[in-house]
Subunit: 407 residues, 2 copies
Amino acid sequence: MNIIEGGVTAAKGFAASSCEANIKYKDRTDMALVFSKEPCVCAGTFTTNVVKAACVKWDQKIVKSGDAMHAVVINSGIANACTGKEGFDACEATAKAVEESLKVPYTSVAVASTGVIGMQLPVDKLVAGVGMMSKTLDESIGAGTDASKAIMTTDTVNKEIAVTFDIDGKNVTLGGMSKGSGMIHPNMCTMLAFLTTDISIEKSLLQEAVSSVVEDSFNMITVDGDTSTNDTLLCMANGLAGNSCIKDKGKDYETFKEALSFVCTFLAKKMASDGEGATKLFEAKVVNVKSKADARTLSRSIVGSNLSKAAIYGCDANFGRFLCAMGYSGADFDQNDVELFFESKNGRLEVFHKGTPLEFDEDKALHIMKADEVTVFVDMHEGNEEATAWGCDLTYDYVKINADYRS
Amino acid sequence: MNIIEGGVTAAKGFAASSCEANIKYKDRTDMALVFSKEPCVCAGTFTTNVVKAACVKWDQKIVKSGDAMHAVVINSGIANACTGKEGFDACEATAKAVEESLKVPYTSVAVASTGVIGMQLPVDKLVAGVGMMSKTLDESIGAGTDASKAIMTTDTVNKEIAVTFDIDGKNVTLGGMSKGSGMIHPNMCTMLAFLTTDISIEKSLLQEAVSSVVEDSFNMITVDGDTSTNDTLLCMANGLAGNSCIKDKGKDYETFKEALSFVCTFLAKKMASDGEGATKLFEAKVVNVKSKADARTLSRSIVGSNLSKAAIYGCDANFGRFLCAMGYSGADFDQNDVELFFESKNGRLEVFHKGTPLEFDEDKALHIMKADEVTVFVDMHEGNEEATAWGCDLTYDYVKINADYRS
């Protein structure tokens, strides 16, 4: 597998465009279109929040239908959540505008939104945006990068990646883009992520690979514990790589899944480290756990705790907060089995050993924690499973970003 | 029922004292002793965190044993959690110091600690503190107030209350004190709360009343979603009021439970409004819910969301965040049934009506949200149950307090 330049336009046959539709933001792009003339099989995972955005319901219907997908239209600024029938009508109008411009069925057009909840989308601006974008579709790397910028909200960097790998003697490409960066505590998927690939694969296997990979990538990150109403991951596969279609879980399926896992983990970590207000990537790796479920629960609880996150911001080796977060996570364990370490590029330090706090060098701890990626490594000594979760520190800026009137 | 001055020394036969033991804090009191010469029946509720402080395990044993309780010794500064055998030895040494000074069995002495996790208590200072305090025990109101100050950590105000009520023609008193104010997300109990009463009641009924009342008071508050390792509530009843002992769930039991509920709710709300860095009390009242469990889940999810809390700090009527928090709470509902209002002493405003956002006056919303107690009122229109939860806003100061090195 090789990492290559680009994102959603890296794979053969995918074009993208973006525009300033002035939906809510001014003087920046706020709509993106990803398009494949060749029909795609598609897979998706969506928020488990009971309050689902209109676009999530729209996309779930398409993914479930088994129909081909040709396009996805994304806007930033307004989330189209808690918007009643009017919100659903906006999805339909957007999809129908694509049908008119690009001559593909509107039932093959996914839509996604991110931004403020409880505000109606200006349908005329959406439709005008689709009109502009359908005229500027472009298969260049730059067009994909521009699309990844248009979907940003409070993100400080755009997030994209692409890889190539060989299947059946053919060179296959998989690329993707995603955005965060608040209301991030994905459950079944993350805020917004779009993957494109030219692999040929059966729909059911594509869905199975996506669902499986999401568990250990996007579902293992948290910024603020708030599971969004809009979490959507869509993966489109148009088959243009020319490999013989993957129809079983053999070697080719595993090769694809490995690439998918790399891409999803890369994008997920990017989202965690670019969490609202974040200054650091905060990783928790928990090993030798009784069950996979417990390993996930423990590592997510550590990176999800406000007190842990504030300690990471403060470079404070206050390890009791991490043990406390493990203790209330819901997983059962004996603290007398536990060893806890701090790790970063600056070193490694054990601070708690099987039930007892260790005396440690505070300066060394501070040095380790000052790195921009800090890991809490926990050995449970109770089994053979492990999991890694990613989050970020809790900072003044998180509060500032989310307390409009005061900022 | 009448509210009277005082706290843990309000009821007959209870004395208190406090001292500067220099355990971790300097130039302030950091130990408190509450004592009843008359043996007490006792009840307690404790943290559900798997990682329990040594003192929690010590107290659970006493409460379970059915033996009488005479005293509780509390220290602030160090939590005695994650401290192995040495931590448990510190509990025993403290209790034995009370036995020596006050001639009550050490198995009748509860201990409680609050502060940093993973640090050992200085046993010599604890024992010396007990020596000082046993000589200055005092039944005055002031001694109780001083005790409530000695147990504070990041609390900005001490928390105490007392009430009287009649049982069986006798005047009964119930008083209490508690402390917060970070790592507050009680599960089965709150950080630290101590109640004293001169009522005569059977132990099993006292425990039943306490366990029931805690569900709708202390267990309905959250500051940061972090369930502490030390949560402890103890209630001591010495019988000196002279009522005929309550042995069934008749009128007298209900009268006592009502007073207990008032006292616990008062202390719980005080803790929520004094959460670390808080500028406001944030209340969520959810009515007409399918089940009591769902009502509690929904209201707790609203006040627990970082995004909701930041919106409350920012006086931002961004109601989508509250609906989002309800949506991921785990309770099932149809957003098309929901009505959502903002309320405070400055007015009431509906912002979301049965699935659709309402156009509302932003200035009026800001005026309502600028009050120091703000309520999100939600009518689910799906049943007959309701619940109220309390939290606080998320502010720069919460981060500052919990990110030592940066502050």
